[in-house]
Structures are given as C-alpha cells and as structure tokens.
C-alpha cells in the first residue's frame, strides 16, 4: 500500500491524474495524521480540515470530469502564517495580529488555488518571521520531528516540520535572512529561496522589503521545481516583482553534471566560520559527489561571510523597525521578547548606517558576480551545525550568526538547501547550492543529481514512523 504520509507532490499528482488516488482520500489521510501528530510538533497555527475536505471534493469532481488543472490539482499544501488567505487570520504568530483577518488572498495563495491545491491550514513561524523559538506567544513553537525535542530552524518552522513529519507534501515559506533554508537544513527537506523578484510577495507580511522572498518547501528537488512552476510569475502589484520570462524550472532535472563548473566556497564554513566537524565533512563529501557526477568543482573565494552578514543584519533591522515602529511605540508588551529585541536593533541604527549598508550591498553583488564568472553555480554551507535542542535558548540563538544563507538574500540569487547526510545523533546535515540570478533550473539540475546519487532525502524521522 502506498504510504500517503510521505507521498511526494509529483507522485501524488501522477496517481491523481491516472485516477488511482482520490484527492479526498489523500486529504483525509493527512488530516488524520495531522490530528495525531500536531499536538507533539505544533506545526500548525490553524488547521482547516473542513475547508480542505471541501477543496479536495471539488478537485476530485473536476478531475473526474476531465478538467485537471495541472500538477498541483488536489495536492495538500500549507501556508506559513504570514501569507494571506482570504477570510482567515494572518496572525504572524503574534499577539499583535491575533484577530488580523486577511481581506484577500496573497498572490501566491491565489496561484495555488488556481492550480487546484488543497490548503490544509496556516503554519507556525517565528513571530513576524524574526522572533523565535519563543515560549511567550499565544502558540507554542514548532518542534523538529528529528530528535523529538530539537529546534526545527526558522522562521518557516511549521513548514519544515509539517513536511518532515509527513503532514503534507508541499508548503510555502519566506526567506529574508535564510528562513526557508534554515528549516530545510534542520528538518532534512528541500527549500529554495528563488531569485529576488521571481515570486510575488504581495499579501505576505513584510519583514524587510528589499530582502524578502517567498519560497517553495518540499521533500524532494523535483517537487520543489513543480511547486515553483506554479508560484513564479510577474505581479505588477508587487514593486519588487520582476517582469521576466517564466520557465519550466524542472526542465533540466534528470540531466547529468558533465560539463558544469561548480565553485566550492569552503572558506564560509572552514575559515570565516568553523562548521561542526560532521557538518564540515558532509559539505566536503557533497562537493566530491558532484565531482564524481561529472562536474568540475573548483574552490573559489567570495568576500568574507561576516561582511555579508553585517550588511544583511543592518538592512533587515532598519527595514523591519520601520515596519514595526508604530506597534513598538503603542503595544510593546504584545510582542514576545525575542521579536521585540531583534526588531528594536533598528531603532539604534541611523539613516547613514542604512544607506552605507545599501552601498555595501551593491559592492557585494558586484564582487559575487565577478567571483562566479564562468561558473554554473556554487556549493557551500547552509547551516554550520545540526539542530540544537529547542529548550537550549543560547544554542538556538547561535544558529542565526552561524550560517551562510544571508549572502544570497543580499545578492538576490537563487539558493537551495537540502539534506547532505546525518549526524551521529541522527540529525539532518545540509548543503546549499546557489545559482546565477534567474537560473533556478540549473540549481535544480545539480540538486537533483546530488539527491539521486546520495538518497539522503529518502530517510524519515524515526519519531513519526
């Protein structure tokens, strides 16, 4: 019997298209699993079983009538709870927005609905996508199914947890300093931050306008590309949206790596930072796998990781404080302590600090492009460590400076995090693959070849078997 809990988006889509699987059967099975597991893992802010069943019935009727809309038709998905779904509160996991009902769908929600997806509910996040893991909010933080009491990464925590626990095959996250790729790394799944401007952010509560991205999260590379196919496209009502051609992002999946040149940025994790020994070994091994698959892998240098990090933090703190200033003035006690502290940093930065960070950003973009000339992609770390225990506040706080995701929020390039093995404690290790702007298909090609060669993505958390 097919394991519906871990059925991927592509496979479920094929079975549904062939009328061998009913969207209602799939949705019911996942609702039952969510009801059993979510009290342990807290992936959801709001479950929506009745709405999901109704959408699944509609999908089934349309498909049976020969009106299949595409690969997302009848597929259960979840939305990080900073993404608007009409008529449902977008809480941002915060007391501030506990009754903040969305008046319309976010553009990405609309695209999912148009594709026939079944929306299962709203997923946990760090408060306003910045403050977490927090225990002083109206909802508990999500917990990683790997290990049972570990941090799942953030801020798209619920999305990572729901996928790892087999609650759904696809979810949306957002990424301003790594918030899709962090939970992907900690939960052993696949998360892509697309090129800045590739996916609309309209209807998504902002953290920092010039760094925010919406990204697909799945358990496999192919599923991720199929989800991006639905999400991508120009939105004239999002000022950051780019009017560029949309592509079939799965077009290069299945091609080998012969003829590709990949830059290996070792100094991010064995120099600028020193990764955990098992994470470091997994990253070096990942580069070797890509070499054995036919790519030319050569070590390259980018600007120091800390320069990108300081630039990202300055822009993020400045823009987020501008967004939250009024709430912080009027309702400071309604924030959790972590979000309040992190956003407040922006209060102490000057306009000149912000402008200098934007100028530094232009320089970093140019230097990164120069270093990547002649390369198809780069491979480097995402996280420096496996997930810490969620009750270890100091270790969780260290996750944020010890990572190599922020450089690509600064440059805007597509960046994908995926499993690269497991620690001796059985926790996921990860690798990050980064492409040139607008070249998500090339990133997926490399990621898929690596995934196929290693098989890490096929492991499941023993706690939810």
């Amino acid at each position: 019997m097919t394991d519906l809990a871990y059925l991927g988006l592509a496979e479920a889509g094929h079975l549904i298209a062939a009328r061998k699987l009913s969207p209602v059967e799939l949705t019911d099975a996942l609702i039952a699993r969510i009801e059993r597991l979510d009290p342990m893992f807290h992936a959801f802010i709001r479950q929506m079983p009745e709405q999901a069943r109704a959408a699944a019935r509609t999908a089934e009727a349309e498909i049976m009538a020969g009106r299949r809309r595409g690969p997302m038709h009848g597929i259960p998905v979840g939305l990080k709870d900073i993404i608007d779904l009409e008529g449902v509160p977008t809480t941002c996991h915060s007391r501030i927005f506990v009754d903040h009902s969305a008046k319309s769908d976010a553009e990405v929600t609309r695209r999912l609905k148009d594709g026939g997806a079944v929306i299962m509910g709203k997923l946990s996040t760090h408060e306003f996508a910045i403050g977490g893991p927090s225990f002083d909010l109206p909802w508990p933080p999500a917990v990683n199914p790997w290990g049972g009491a570990h941090f799942p990464g953030g801020s798209s925590s619920g999305s990572g947890v729901a996928l790892a626990a087999g609650m759904m095959p696809a979810a949306l996250g957002t990424d301003t300093g790594g918030s899709v790729r962090n939970p992907a790394s900690m939960c052993g799944i696949v998360g892509l931050k697309p090129t800045y401007g590739r996916v609309s952010r309209r209807g998504v509560f902002p953290l920092a306008f010039s760094l925010d991205h919406v990204g697909p999260m799945t358990r496999s590379v192919l599923d991720n590309a199929l989800l991006l196919n639905v999400l991508a496209g120009h939105d004239p009502q999002d000022p950051g949206s780019a009017d560029v051609a949309t592509l079939d992002y799965a077009a290069e999946i299945g091609l080998d790596l012969k003829g590709l040149v990949i830059g290996h940025v070792r100094h991010f994790y064995d120099g600028d930072e020193k990764a955990h020994p098992e994470q470091l070994a997994a990253l070096d091994a990942a580069a070797d796998v890509m070499r054995k698959l036919g790519a030319e892998v050569r070590e390259i240098r980018l600007p120091p990781l800390q320069v990108y990090t300081a630039c990202n933090r300055t822009i993020l703190a400045s823009e987020s404080y501008a967004i939250h200033r009024r709430f912080l003035q009027e309702r400071p006690k309604d924030y959790g302590a972590l979000a309040r502290q992190r956003i407040l940093t922006g209060a102490g930065l000057t306009a000149a600090d912000y402008i200098d960070a934007l100028r530094q950003r232009a320089r970093l973009i140019a230097e990164t492009e120069t270093a990547m000339a002649g390369l198809d992609a780069i491979v480097t770390a995402s996280s420096m460590d496996p997930a810490p225990r969620i009750d270890d506040a100091e270790a969780c706080a260290r996750v944020y400076p010890r990572q190599a995701r922020q450089p690509f929020n600064i440059t805007g390039q597509p960046a994908l995090a995926m499993p690269a093995g497991f620690s001796s404690d059985g926790l996921p290790l990860s690798v990050q693959i980064v492409g040139h702007n607008w070249q998500e298909a090339r990133v997926y090609r490399i990621a898929h070849a690596y995934e196929h060669a290693t098989g890490w993505a096929r492991r499941r958390p023993p706690t939810v078997a």
Binding site: T314, L328, R340, L344, A347, L358, Q360, R361
Partner: protein
C-alpha cells in the same frame, strides 16, 4: 549607556512605554545596533551608490 541616556533615547524614539516596561531591553538593543554599525566596512567611497536607487520606467509616448 547610562539610565539617563536610555530614558532620553526612549523619549526621542517615542518608545517611552517600552522603556517603562523594560529599559534594559532598549539599552541592549541600542548597544547591539552600535556594535552592528561598527562591523560595517568603513572604506566605501562617495562614488559608490546604493544597491537600490530610484529607477523610473519611461512613460509610453515620452521622448527619450
């Protein structure tokens, strides 16, 4: 940062409610900002423009 300085900064920023709730939190945030600003490179030349400058699309029918 002294307590008096924190109170003054809170007033300047309109964050008196926050300061009454936890003045230490504001002090820590302002000190973190100072440390962050110090970590930014100081060698940016005046000719280097920000990553995002105003970019106006040409209106249809306008003379170029």
């Amino acid at each position: 940062m002294t307590d008096d300085e924190t109170v003054r900064r809170a007033r300047d920023l309109g964050l008196e409610k926050l300061a009454r709730h936890d003045a230490g939190e504001l002090t820590r945030a302002l000190e973190a900002a100072e440390a962050l600003a110090k970590r930014m490179p100081k060698d940016i030349h005046w000719t280097e423009e920000p990553a995002h400058v105003l970019s106006l699309a040409a209106r249809k029918g306008s003379r170029s």
